[in-house]
């Protein structure tokens, strides 16, 4: 099987993980996750138009454990896609491509997304009056 022994072009597994690739991969992953999250957006609006019984069902789904985990995931996805999207818009102006700046803004997007997610969920917990 000489064909199988031929060297392949290097892919993800060969490289040392660094913020440049992590921020790019996460941006796409978060975008796909958010596209999936639009299902909930549609359900919420349709239920709100449909009546109290349907809305109560959506509320119950959101309040369940899997629902809360999904909402947490979508909060983070939105926070990250928003921050890294702003970074992309900045880069569209041909700014921020120096290696140091690029690495720094990448970390700002990744770490900032966790800060924003925490802030949103602190608001949620405060409104509920604790856990």
């Amino acid at each position: 099987m000489p064909q199988a022994a031929r060297p392949k072009s290097p892919h993800l597994q060969i490289y040392r993980w660094q913020i440049q690739m992590v921020s790019s991969i996460l941006h796409r992953a978060a975008g796909v996750a958010l596209a999936g999250g639009t299902v909930l957006l549609v359900c919420l609006l349709v239920a709100l138009a449909g009546g109290p019984e349907v809305y109560a069902k959506v509320q119950r789904c959101c309040a369940s454990m899997p629902g809360q985990l999904l909402l947490l995931g979508w909060t983070w996805s939105l926070a990250y896609h928003l921050l890294n999207g702003l970074r992309h818009l900045l880069e569209d102006t041909a700014a921020g491509f120096e290696i140091r700046t690029f690495v720094m803004t990448g970390w700002v997007a990744v770490l900032g997304s966790f800060v924003l997610t925490a802030l949103v969920w602190i608001c949620v917990l405060l409104q509920r009056g604790g856990l």
């Binding site: 796409r28 975008g31 796909v32 958010l34 596209a35 639009t38 299902v39 957006l41 549609v42 609006l45 349709v46 709100l48 138009a49 449909g50 109290p52 809305y55 109560a56 939105l78 928003l82 999207g85 702003l86 992309h88 818009l89 569209d92 949103v120 608001c123 949620v124 409104q127 509920r128």
Partner: protein, 127 residues
């Protein structure tokens, strides 16, 4: 230069379709629109946490929030379709499956937007 090429290339979808820039630009325009709209949406979602059905409905029925919701939904599905299109172009290379998934994404995004907008109109008009 283009006169030296046969139209076959264009028929097969190879080479420039002369519409790639539009995809790039619309993706950016919807992204810029979604920056303030997403912040508004997070605020709205947080308001919904402590509201009951009547309160939630009354909030979105307000003209300002109804208009912003339609703008948000429109931008979200447009932006999502453009983004998913690139993901499919990058990873799905089976010819039939690629076209099928591109169509499915387009149809689902349009349906999602239409269903959401109809719902907002019903909420806003109280019907």
């Amino acid at each position: 230069m283009s006169r030296l090429r046969t139209p076959l290339k264009t028929v097969r979808g190879l080479g420039s379709a002369r519409s790639g820039t539009r995809h790039f630009i619309v993706q950016r325009i919807t992204a810029v629109a979604l920056v303030p709209l997403s912040c508004w949406f997070v605020w709205l979602a947080l308001s919904l946490v402590h509201l009951d059905y009547a309160g939630a409905r009354a909030l979105i029925a307000q003209p300002l929030h109804a208009v912003l919701m339609v703008a948000f939904v429109g931008s979200v599905f447009w932006h999502a379709q453009l983004g998913l299109q690139v993901v499919i172009e990058d990873y799905v290379h089976t010819p039939g499956l690629e076209i099928a998934s591109q169509l499915a994404v387009k149809f689902l995004c349009v349906l999602g937007a239409l269903a959401s907008i109809l719902a907002v109109v019903r909420i806003a008009l109280g019907s």
